[in-house]
């Protein structure tokens, strides 16, 4: 088990993308497409015989030498480290980059990369913000059809409906295992640590889906065998780290300071769907409808049917969380905006909350540690 976790940790820290290089060596005609958070229809990419890779910045593995001058002040770290990965040649294993309508900085990054790397296929998906309108389903289906056609040109092969359906089956399976692990973790948070689940799930961003599902199953068995005793901790829901990822040290710190993290939105794209995507009928339509109707609530999407402040309260109740910790990446505008209405709703409901700001490259946490310990103590002894 330790070995498995160590391997996952190594995979997610690696900014040379060794797993991707290895996959390409084994698949001489295969292409790799990296996608920026939060969500991408990975099934379409995989059905083209390509490896979809979820990028989440560079953590503390990269010092900015070029990207700062291109993006200036007041812009979040993940935008800059992603560009830095490109400007330092680290995105070489990729044949394409995919972005979507999550925020203004990420959108501009897409086109800055397009200018600087004209040899790459760089595309932008418009994921709808009007789920209330029936027309958004047809629109998204056409958007996926456009992506499919572009990938077909890049791969120089057709994407058959059957292989698309097969990929939906495989990713459904993968997401089902992840959902089960999340539920189990909420039941027995002392058995499955948050940082462990995080590295296990995020490692899937770099692996073919079958390989990742097998890895998760191995972890499941490891967790089942584990002897674990409950600790004195409060049940906490962590929110807002859906794009730039908090340092592993910070996730560990929360746990050591007395938090059972029973729910979070780390690498949310891997858990986008709350139930299986249907495998009958037109697969592109199934993907589009599921994006709108069988999915989680997220700060990067407007859905008039499900206001996010209420959805947060429902999530808190469902996981029996006692408090919410907002982990917000510095300069992350979607998270900071949502915080205002979240805070208002939590206060109406009398649910304690704490706001912590982080950057992916942070490596000392003394100040945050004190804040978390004080917050936890107040709740443990109230």
């Amino acid at each position: 088990m330790d070995e498995l976790l160590r391997r996952c940790e190594e995979i997610i820290r690696d900014v040379s993308f060794a797993t991707v290089r290895r996959w390409k060596a084994e698949h001489p005609d295969g292409k790799a497409i990296a996608y920026f958070p939060v969500y991408a229809p990975v099934e379409v990419i995989a059905a083209a015989g390509m490896l979809p890779v979820g990028l989440h910045g560079a953590g503390d593995q990269l010092e900015l030498q070029h990207a700062d001058a291109r993006f200036g002040s007041f812009i979040c770290s993940i935008v800059k480290t992603t560009l830095e990965l490109g400007l330092t040649g680290r995105l070489a294993p990729f044949d394409g980059l995919l972005f979507s309508s999550i925020c203004d900085s990420a959108r501009n990054l897409c086109f800055v990369l397009k200018r600087n790397f004209p040899q790459l296929y760089v595309d932008f998906l418009h994921l709808p913000h009007n789920a209330e309108s029936a027309s958004s389903r047809e629109f998204l289906r056409s958007e996926y059809a456009r992506l499919k056609a572009a990938l077909e040109r890049l791969a120089e092969r057709r994407i058959e409906e059957e292989s698309l359906r097969e990929m939906i089956v495989r990713y459904n399976e993968n997401r089902r295992v992840i959902r089960r692990l999340y539920e189990w973790r909420a039941e027995e948070p002392h058995r499955i640590r948050a940082w462990e689940l995080y590295v296990l799930v995020r490692a899937g961003n770099f692996l073919p889906v079958e390989e990742h599902t097998a890895l998760l199953r191995e972890a499941q068995e490891g967790f089942a065998r584990r002897q674990a005793k409950p600790r004195d901790s409060i049940r906490v829901l962590v929110e807002s780290a859906f794009c730039e990822q908090p340092p592993l040290g910070l996730i560990r710190l929360l746990e050591e300071a007395g938090c059972y993290i029973v729910e979070e939105d780390f690498t949310l794209g891997r858990r986008w769907f709350s139930e299986d995507i249907p495998t009958d009928g037109d697969p592109l339509r199934a993907l589009a409808e599921s994006y709108l109707d069988r999915s989680v609530v997220s700060s990067v999407r407007h859905d008039g049917r499900r206001p996010r402040p209420r959805a947060l309260i429902e999530k808190v109740r469902a996981r029996r969380a006692q408090a919410v910790i907002f982990l917000i990446a510095k300069f992350c505008e979607p998270a900071y905006f949502d915080y205002v209405l979240f805070k208002r709703e939590l206060e109406r409901e009398g649910i304690p909350h704490l706001l912590l700001e982080f950057e992916e490259k942070m490596y000392t946490f003394e100040r945050l540690q004190t804040e978390v310990e004080t917050f936890v103590e107040a709740l443990l002894f109230e």
Binding site: R107, V112, R115, H126, H129, E132, F139, P334, F337, V340
Partner: protein
């Protein structure tokens, strides 16, 4: 150094006051109904078809800033939980609402609908979600696909048109009013005429000297452009504005007694220091001959017009492809390049504003493109459009002075 102040400035003030008076009347009597809209690529023609008055929170926010009244509402919003790094337009608007402050002291109505025309700016969605939450008003997000290729696809257009019809139905349900197709066509026709006149005004700036400043003076013209575009008052205003500026051009008059520099300005202005900022350019007799900020509401100088024969389709096309914010970043590079070449500019000024990542994220790369790829002299400065705490006046002036000094040497060297 004082800029030209003619009939245009007086008349635009009256038109803006007229708009605020309509809003005040709506707040006091409940009539006409009011609907919140965003400036960028909006569908105000649909509102006009119902006789509904638009509320533009952006215009309110900038009016507060230009009157030096933005800091207090910004602080009130931060007190509520907004971060220092959130868009200060939103903070000033929400803060002013909480404090009961309006730019004119008149009343603002509660909107019958908060209609978010999402055209590229993700902050628009958050902003209107918050407006709807605080004002307890219904919200509709009109989702406009971002322009990720040269032209919008038929699927993009169909999606926006379908939503426009939904908006019409929603307004009918909420207000009890009936949609009037003739009035809609008439509103679209007014927009078409205003756009033609506005485009001709913009093209006057290709003259040497330019009869007006296409950044600072264009901002004066933008008020009526947004508030009255789809109304006969708008057509009349722009007809007279064009005549006045054409006469000025015919007399060979520029913005200053001499036009020493022609620049293109990218980015919104620092409204809390609008005067001080303008003076930094005036002392060098530098005229903006084009600007991207004046195309937030719509880009018409390259030929697009609304069309009363195809009202829904052209409203959709305007939202999709013919406003700055829904066009992609490289299309903005190209827009500025065209300005530099066709409006014969000596350099580009990039004003990074902290609040607006849509405008500013990546402007370092834009500078790289203009200086290294095109060899166009470029100045990059940073402040904010609404929050007075981010304007380092002496520092910005030094950079502006150094830029024009160097640009002067550069121009003389080219001339030799």
């Amino acid at each position: 150094m004082s800029e030209y102040r003619g009939w245009i400035h007086q008349r635009q003030k009256e038109l803006m006051q007229q708009w605020y008076a309509r809003l005040d009347e709506s707040a006091r009597t409940g009539w006409p109904p009011a609907i919140c809209l965003m400036i960028s690529g909006n569908c105000v023609e649909v509102l006009e078809a119902f006789g509904i008055v638009p509320i533009y929170p952006e215009v309110n926010a900038l009016q507060l800033a230009i009157r030096h009244q933005s800091l207090e509402p910004i602080l009130a919003a931060e007190e509520l939980g907004y971060a220092t790094d959130n868009c200060a337009y939103v903070k000033a608007d929400i803060g002013a609402y909480l404090m009961g402050v309006t730019p004119t002291g008149g009343k603002l109505p509660r909107p019958a609908l908060v209609l978010c025309n999402f055209v590229g700016c993700n902050t628009y969605i958050k902003w209107f979600e918050h407006v709807a939450a605080f004002l307890e008003a219904p919200l509709y997000v009109l989702d406009v696909p971002f322009l990720r290729s040269e032209e919008p696809s038929p699927a993009d257009v169909a999606y926006v048109v379908a939503q426009l019809h939904e908006v019409v139905r929603r307004i009918e349900e909420i207000t009890g009013l009936r949609f009037d197709m003739d009035r809609f066509r008439e509103a679209v026709r007014c927009s078409q005429q205003v756009e033609e006149l506005w485009s001709r005004i913009k093209h006057l700036a290709q003259r040497v000297p330019s009869p007006f400043d296409a950044y600072f003076d264009a901002i004066t013209l933008m008020g009526p452009l947004y508030v009255h575009r789809a109304r006969p008052e708008g057509v009349e205003f722009f007809r007279l504005a064009l005549a006045e500026l054409e006469a000025k051009a015919a007399r060979g008059e520029g913005v200053y007694d001499r036009e020493d520099f022609r620049v293109v300005i990218e980015g919104p202005p620092p409204y809390p220091y609008f005067r001080a900022f303008r003076d930094m350019f005036a002392r060098w007799r530098a005229t903006a001959v084009a600007s991207t900020y004046s195309t937030v509401g719509g880009i018409w100088e390259f030929g697009f017009r609304h069309d009363p024969e195809k009202p829904f389709e052209t409203v959709a096309l305007h939202m999709l492809a013919h406003n700055l914010t829904n066009r992609n970043y490289l299309q903005r590079y190209d827009q500025i390049r065209r300005y530099v070449q066709q409006w014969r500019a000596d350099g580009v000024i990039i004003h990074f504003v902290k609040s607006c990542r849509l405008f500013s994220a990546g402007q370092g790369d834009m500078r790289d493109y203009f200086t290294k790829v095109l060899g166009v002299p470029t100045l990059y400065i940073e402040s904010d459009l609404e929050d007075p705490r981010y304007f380092a006046e002496a520092q910005i002036r030094n950079r502006v002075d150094a830029f024009f000094e160097a640009l002067g040497r550069h121009k003389r060297a080219i001339a030799v």
